[in-house]
Symmetry: C2
Subunit: 131 residues, 2 copies
């Protein structure tokens, strides 16, 4: 059993290369094998979002607070609110983030395949975001 007390893990600013706007990440768990589970709390300020990306084994988001949005490539933007759960299939190109005027926080859960849990692509521009 390993206990990570609340407040003992530093929150970091998500890297500008893969995110637009101010995004804060607090790690929850980062396993490799045999458990491949990785989870992170992510807080997006209004207008902030990930770049387009895929996950080799997919991803599930549990929206903890606020209201935001997500989109899969070629599909309409979907509005998200606290308590919603969103899943993306392995290899599904997508993004997620806050709303234009509202913050959103979610727990992101995904699994690493051979140590890799995400493949980053181009940023989501303002037109795509629909601000």
């Amino acid at each position: 059993m390993n206990v990570i007390p609340c407040g003992s893990v530093a929150t970091i600013a998500a890297p500008e290369k893969y995110f637009t706007g101010r995004v804060l990440q607090t790690p929850i768990i980062e396993n490799d094998e045999p458990s491949r589970l990785r989870a992170v709390m992510v807080g997006f300020e209004p207008g902030a979002r990930t770049a387009w990306h895929t996950h080799p084994l997919g991803q599930t988001l549990y929206v903890v607070s606020g209201a935001g949005r997500a989109q899969s490539w070629g599909l309409p933007i979907v509005e998200l609110k606290a308590g919603d759960v969103v899943s993306f299939a392995p290899g599904e190109k997508h993004w997620h983030g806050a709303g234009p005027t509202t913050a959103m926080a979610h727990i992101a859960m995904h699994e690493a395949l051979k140590g890799v849990h995400v493949d980053w692509m181009e940023k989501v521009d303002d037109e795509q975001f629909g601000a």
Copy 2:
């Protein structure tokens, strides 16, 4: 992309066979392959707890609210509070639940191995719980 709106999944009472006291479960995700991720929100009323059990690929708990406790076989009971993260190794015999007078809710994250994510054992009696 699959969105499960908040309020669209029924909360169920956890089965008496594997839990002591009143425990409510709200499913978040239940994958099999290639993603093996399973997650569930679990709320324990004061005094409620799981039976002893193991997970084939381990488990991570993110305490969402309240204060509770957990224990691995042969080790002391550990107190848990909101925001704490607890991980159990594959095959590690353990239990988790509320405090004697305090409710506790956590998100449980684990992975299924050949469709099985938990192996249940005997219940945690009052002496073990330390009520």
